[in-house]
Symmetry: C2
Subunit: 638 residues, 2 copies
Amino acid sequence: MDIEEMLLDLKKKIESKLPNDTTISTVEFEGPQLVVYTEEPRKFADNGNIIRTLAKDLRTRIVVRPDPKVLVPPEESMDKIGNIVPEEAATSNYHFDPDVGEVIIEAEKPGLVIGKQGDTLREITKEIGWTPKVVRTPPIKSRTVKNIREFMRNNHKERKDILKSVGRQIHRETTTKDQWVRITSLGGCKEVGRSCFILSTPESRVMIDCGVNIGSDENMTPYLYVPEAYPLSQLDAVILTHAHLDHSGFIPLLYKYGYQGPVYCTLPTRDLSALLQLDYIDVAGKEGRIVPYESSQVREALKHTITLDFEEVTDIAPDIKLTFHNSGHILGSAIAHFHIGDGLHNVVFTGDYKYGSTRLFDPAVNKFPRVETVVTESTYGSSNAVQPTLKDAEKHLQQVIINTLQKDGIVLIPAFAVGRSQEVMIVLEDAIRKGLIDDVPIYLDGMIWEATAIHATYPEYLNNELRKSIFQKGQNPFLSDSFKPVDSNELRQKIIDEPHPCVILATAGMMNAGPILEYFKAFASNENNTLVFVGYQADGTLGRRIQKGWKEIPMSSSVNGGTQTINVNMNVEVVDGFSGHSDRKQLMDFVKKMKPRPERVYTEHGEEKFCIDLASSIYKKNKIETRALTNLETIRLV
Amino acid sequence: MDIEEMLLDLKKKIESKLPNDTTISTVEFEGPQLVVYTEEPRKFADNGNIIRTLAKDLRTRIVVRPDPKVLVPPEESMDKIGNIVPEEAATSNYHFDPDVGEVIIEAEKPGLVIGKQGDTLREITKEIGWTPKVVRTPPIKSRTVKNIREFMRNNHKERKDILKSVGRQIHRETTTKDQWVRITSLGGCKEVGRSCFILSTPESRVMIDCGVNIGSDENMTPYLYVPEAYPLSQLDAVILTHAHLDHSGFIPLLYKYGYQGPVYCTLPTRDLSALLQLDYIDVAGKEGRIVPYESSQVREALKHTITLDFEEVTDIAPDIKLTFHNSGHILGSAIAHFHIGDGLHNVVFTGDYKYGSTRLFDPAVNKFPRVETVVTESTYGSSNAVQPTLKDAEKHLQQVIINTLQKDGIVLIPAFAVGRSQEVMIVLEDAIRKGLIDDVPIYLDGMIWEATAIHATYPEYLNNELRKSIFQKGQNPFLSDSFKPVDSNELRQKIIDEPHPCVILATAGMMNAGPILEYFKAFASNENNTLVFVGYQADGTLGRRIQKGWKEIPMSSSVNGGTQTINVNMNVEVVDGFSGHSDRKQLMDFVKKMKPRPERVYTEHGEEKFCIDLASSIYKKNKIETRALTNLETIRLV
């Protein structure tokens, strides 16, 4: 059956299930969704269950869109929306797209526009014809979110074509009789950086992550040129588990090399990865290093991105269904579950995950409808990689801050923009609110504030407690007055010129670049100040040298471009335990408590000996097949 | 450096090493050889060491060819050759090819045309300018050998173009900095049939064997469509270890699917595989089964075949050198040794092998200059797969024949055309010559006689003892008067109509088709006759049923096309031990005594439990990494 016949067939099926007097104009695949166009959107809206029942029956995702001729004009529509939606929702922007009959409504409280089980949305549709889509007005202004939303709106037509083509690819006819499932490792095995896998069947080929190894020029790129991956035009889909560059960094490169298909990820991952990718090529260019792609390719990737919610089962190829689950690592980070064939096999790629509660996120999900194969990260896979508990880490950090502030000193914290910074921010906000530390200003410099703004835009992805605090108590810790974004050179200079007790979080996390260096130069000589490391410092970085105890650091002068020697008199403290990764015990527990019990576990994303150690320990504990994967292998699962 | 520069460079290097007065016109790659064209072929011939020294210095194979203008006309040349070559050589045909300046001389005793270390050949060149190539006049007329030789001569021009293109491919410039070696299993793992592997590096991709699984319609073909193999046009070379269809059967198919490169094998493998391939599609057509390719594709494969001698190191890709070693399995069967990169890795594919002496062949070679990885067959890999010794098997067979002949009975032996038949023939000839069994006629029906003719054409590939017997004592057992080829329906009918004490060897080996059935129908009812199985009988074949003890066999009647019931009153005997495969002990010894000791061993070509059993036993005995390969895996060696 070709695709046109299939659509005709679906149209008939849908019509047969609708109440007698309801008609539809046409049906079309757009991305993984089946779109039903109708001149009677109000009737669909009237009966909230129609769509849900249809989707269940047809085993696909369905959206209903109005035929353009039944739409109420925008001006009039806005008035009507204003009448329906309660004032407290605080709607701000409306964007009408007649091509798809959608109106995008920005609101500070999207829940109030949606209503109970979507009641308010349906009411809007009934009144104006348009299909409303609600997005949150970023409570902190985010350049990234604003730009991406604008970009998506401006490219709506092209995007519709892309989605249509993706939809037809997903629902193409299948031909092969053979049944097998393979995974190919293109990077990130027995190493950290350039994570990249191919999952393939006789019908389909999808890529999971495509990261850059920033620490290495030689082994920077995944082995994209091997035949299992190349030509990239033959990939059905790219799945991005989370925004960190060792998973997302080379996704734009795929579009340079001929890939034209979709990228599936969560909404926060889309925004965070664009932010990090643009920063990556920007910094590389400034430092005279290889710039592997242009910003136009980041935009190309955005145009092709299809965002999915957690727990949403989605067809991404004729024989592959993808479901994202919370992985607890950073905002929007996901575990990717693939259901292959008609129950043939289920494989889980964990990406990076935290199997434990943190200030920001719920623990990683390890319950699935079915799972036979697990590919797990191993960052802390070594049997002696013990980490302090988060509680101890927090106490430790508090004490360091208290000690420093008692001496009227400054606390300087180098931090990664995404993940660690927000965790520390929440800890500090909580401590200040509870009066555990003085209410000093907390300066945020580098990309930290922008990343925080993205966190504030998507509170749905934070943990239960934070969501409750934000939605029910109206307390958003990210909006605390204690946080002072350093949004100008003047402010930074002022902080430096007029030292006062404060906490400064600044990038880069390993002190190899970024504004942290300016603060360090200014404050290193004063023994009342403290430098606090909350993250891993790699070999060869300034952070590592200072950790090792270097007391005289030669640095380029910010004044005349010459070299100056910085004397390190400030305290240097290392606070372990703020990791977004599972520690050894959590890695072991994640597998042990997984439901159902998997048949085999492959380890990756860790130093070689850690991956081997973890594989061997999981085997011994659980008596299931395990192996540490090697780059460039192709393994058969079925 | 591009290829033209490289050739110019080589020309200069060669000239600098020649005596002052020797000039060359041009140099060109043809297949893996470097061809030096000269107007002074006599000077090269004068100095036998020049070529050898040059080849060593340039690390490549070199042949010298005369410029056409210096060639003595054919008629005159033939006279001169006649004067140089001793009468006993018995030269018969001369074929002059002015394009390459070669004259192909057929002789009954090629050694006498070659002379000590090629002395006579050089003398011929000096006299006539032409480069002589000697081939053996088949002592038994072989349609196959005759047709192939004619075909190769008739397509000499096209072949020259093919060789030139192959040569340039082999010597192309390389670009990649990455270093890795991978093998992909496309068939023949945890099963017997459709053997097929890919060996790949960042530069090159070669296929080892491409067999058909005759026993299965569903799993008949190797997984040629996976990206490691497809598109086939990207393969650099195909290596064929031996002629049996489970290794050679789908090589012509490669040309149907777009492959255009060379096939490397030994000379006997070329002829035997063409014979078997043509028979395969012929029989498949007659039986109404799938005919996967045409005879034109068998010819295409022949045109692209480059034959190599044992122990001849040959460049087959920019970074891969191939050396064949005797594997002792069937005529021309080889172990393929690959040297990759500049000492990066060495991998041995055993193909099928016998690590033990047989009547026909020397034991398989297991000493190599270097070897890290071994991929070994596992046909008898099970720890309880014990086979009688060849000596015991021979005695058993003799006794069965003696007993039958005593009763004036007929001995009927179903046998595969290539391998088992010739082994049994030699056993019978020896027994008759020594008076151990009566000198009754031994009828050979089906393809056996043609396959035997090919054996007789290439005695260089038989074992030491046979070679000595043939070359020094002038006794070729294949030429024994006891052997009576059944070359007409009349003769077959006569044997059936006038039963007399005799031995009949006939195909097919498992009695699923072929002339064996006619004899069986005729002789089954007589209790004085004996049916002797000397080979494996697969499930579902008539042979297996009779082995199991079936006494009434329904068969289609040869007279009226109806069904008749055959009563099996004849004796049924099973004589084990005539295997061209290593038994369990030989498999274990092959690895244990291998020099140097390999780092890892992968098992394939055997039932699943046999492959696993062998891998596990080799690990336990030798403490080296082992694994039973699975179809569709890609494993990284370096």
